[in-house]
């Protein structure tokens, strides 16, 4: 009974729209699969899809590598340091993505802060082009995604009992072995959750690439353009359907892995 109202909301304003997107994607004048044929035949759109997944992979990997030590440090922190750590993670988290993209523009421009600092330090002798490049866009995207990686890692790490590491140490494992054989496996659920979250969010990235992207053809930007500039709803819907199917597939794959891991972990 309790489910009736929430499920109605979901059915009307979530499932029905998705079905609409799906239906629209087949409403091409040149036959039901016409739009998909156009997606497949258009090198610009194909590239956009590939580029989006490539970017998602790069951003996820970078976010994981950078987040792990931060999460580890905060998970070990106590009292005031814990609060400071959390605030440093959460304030950016709650700063609008529109604004952070704008701030990155300020930071990365040719006469921007990053270039000025590197010039002053003598790291470079003339300003680098950072804004409107893939590198700049990735740097900004990773920063925006970091909290989505740190927070799940943190909650997994906070759950790890330090005595497990001590036990490993007593059994003669060196720090490296302690990390690889004990800590890393115990933090895996956090790694999985963070990676899926960041990967899927990056697939739908719109603001940063639209503002900073230069020529980056992220799929969400392409979809928005198809709709608003070219008024081509079927094509936009076909792109959205491809994105939807791939996102769902990823999510289901993760759920399955997660369930298996959870099943394996039940013994402990």
């Amino acid at each position: 009974m309790l489910l009736a109202a929430p499920l109605t909301l979901l059915a009307l304003f979530f499932l029905l729209p998705l079905l609409t997107v799906f239906g629209q994607s087949f409403a091409a004048p040149d036959g039901p699969l016409g739009t998909y044929a156009r997606v497949a035949g258009d090198s610009a759109l194909r590239y956009s899809l590939i580029y989006t997944f490539q970017t998602a992979a790069i951003v996820t990997l970078a976010a994981l590598v950078l987040s792990y030590p931060v999460a580890f440090l905060i998970s070990r922190a106590q009292g005031r340091w814990l609060v400071i750590g959390m605030v440093l993670v959460l304030v950016p988290f709650w700063t609008s993505a529109v604004i952070r993209s704008y701030a990155w523009l300020v930071l990365l421009q040719r006469r921007g802060v990053v270039n000025e600092i590197m010039l002053a330090l003598g790291l470079i002798d003339r300003p680098l082009r950072l804004a409107n490049t893939d590198l700049g866009t990735h740097v900004a995207m990773v920063q925006i995604m970091l909290p989505f990686m740190i927070l799940p890692l943190l909650s997994a790490m906070r759950g790890i009992d330090p005595s497990m590491l001590r036990a490993a140490a007593i059994l003669g494992a060196n720090p490296w072995r302690q990390f690889v054989n004990v800590y890393l496996p115990l933090s895996t659920p956090g790694v999985g959750a963070g990676c899926v979250l960041v990967f899927i969010s990056t697939l739908g990235f719109y603001i940063t690439p639209a503002l900073l992207g230069g020529s980056s053809p992220m799929i969400a930007v392409a979809i928005e353009q198809q709709v608003s500039r070219l008024l081509d709803w079927p094509l936009a819907s076909a792109l959205a359907t491809v994105l939807l199917v791939l996102t769902c597939a990823l999510f289901m794959l993760y759920e399955r892995l997660n369930r298996r891991l959870a099943g394996a972990g039940e013994g402990r």
Binding site: L7, P69, F72, V98, Y102, W104, A169, A240, L244
Partner: protein, 279 residues
């Protein structure tokens, strides 16, 4: 890494890790920090460092009817959306965590899906539907859309709160003759209240920051703050955006402090929405 880190190599390594972590934290807050001096710029264009100090952008922010309208719209949309999301999210969490429903995990995944799915997909699906029934550019249209995407946040925080205590309390109340509503009112709700409040505030802040759906579903008269910021960014990049951000961010942080006060364990719960993928 822990007590065993005694050899010089490990000490250098752990110092290196700590240094990396600090650098990452700087990277994390740098964009937010750069906004503050920018908001006090005396320039009319985007220049950093600013050539002089002035409060002119705060003045134009305060005088801007566009911003006043947008802030009002954001409230008119965010508050009802978060309320709907909270009521429905609590119902869904109760049903999935406490009820005897089939396909529990699938249901949980379905309820969380709107939060995870790229919003552009939902936007281009909602647009033609809402156009048909005349909801485009109206408050109910965007409120319902935001309610759907924020319901998962409440669902997650409340589910977590429900899992934190055993259902035996509710059973006891029922055995003592309380009807389901009284049981909820006097037993369940007090236990999950922090989760409900945190969920509500997450939903509210999410709605305040949402751009894509607002872009498609609002009109110039119902546009929200993020949409106004976005339009300004595309029209003329002046530091008024920075001033607006500092004001709004201060308000957000105040809201979050409220959230932190709301629950004793609120600090730990901050991490929970991200955990959501676990269902």
């Amino acid at each position: 890494m822990n007590g065993a880190a005694t050899t010089p190599v490990w000490r250098i390594l752990s110092a290196g890790i700590a240094l990396l972590a600090v650098l990452v934290l700087i990277y994390l807050v740098l964009p937010t920090l750069v906004i503050v001096p920018l908001s006090f710029s005396s320039d009319t264009f985007l220049k950093f460092p600013p050539s002089g100090f002035s409060t002119r952008w705060y003045e134009s922010f305060a005088a801007s009817t566009d911003y006043q309208l947008a802030i009002l719209n954001s409230l008119k949309i965010g508050v009802p959306a978060a309320l709907v999301a909270t009521v429905f999210g609590v119902m869904a969490a109760l049903a999935v965590v406490r009820g005897a429903v089939p396909f529990r995990r699938t249901l949980a995944a379905l309820i969380i899906a709107p939060l995870i799915l790229p919003q552009i997909i939902l936007a281009i699906g909602l647009f033609p539907l809402m156009a048909k029934v005349g909801l485009i550019g109206t408050y109910p249209g965007i409120v319902l859309a935001h309610a759907v995407v924020t319901m998962p946040l409440v669902f997650i925080t409340v589910s977590a709160a429900l899992r934190n205590y055993a259902p035996t309390y509710e059973l006891a109340a029922m055995t003592l003759g309380a009807n389901p509503w009284r049981t909820f009112r006097h037993v369940t709700f007090p236990m999950i209240r922090p989760g409900v409040i945190v969920g509500f505030i997450f939903a509210l802040t999410f709605s305040f920051d949402e751009l894509i759906l607002a872009m498609f579903l609002t009109s110039p008269t119902t546009r929200t703050v993020p949409r106004l910021l976005w339009e300004q960014l595309n029209f003329q990049m002046t530091p008024i955006i920075a001033a607006a951000t500092v004001v709004l961010l201060t308000a957000t942080i105040a809201l979050l402090c409220l959230a932190a006060i709301a629950g004793a364990g609120a600090r730990r719960r901050m991490g929970r929405p991200a955990e959501g993928v676990n269902g």
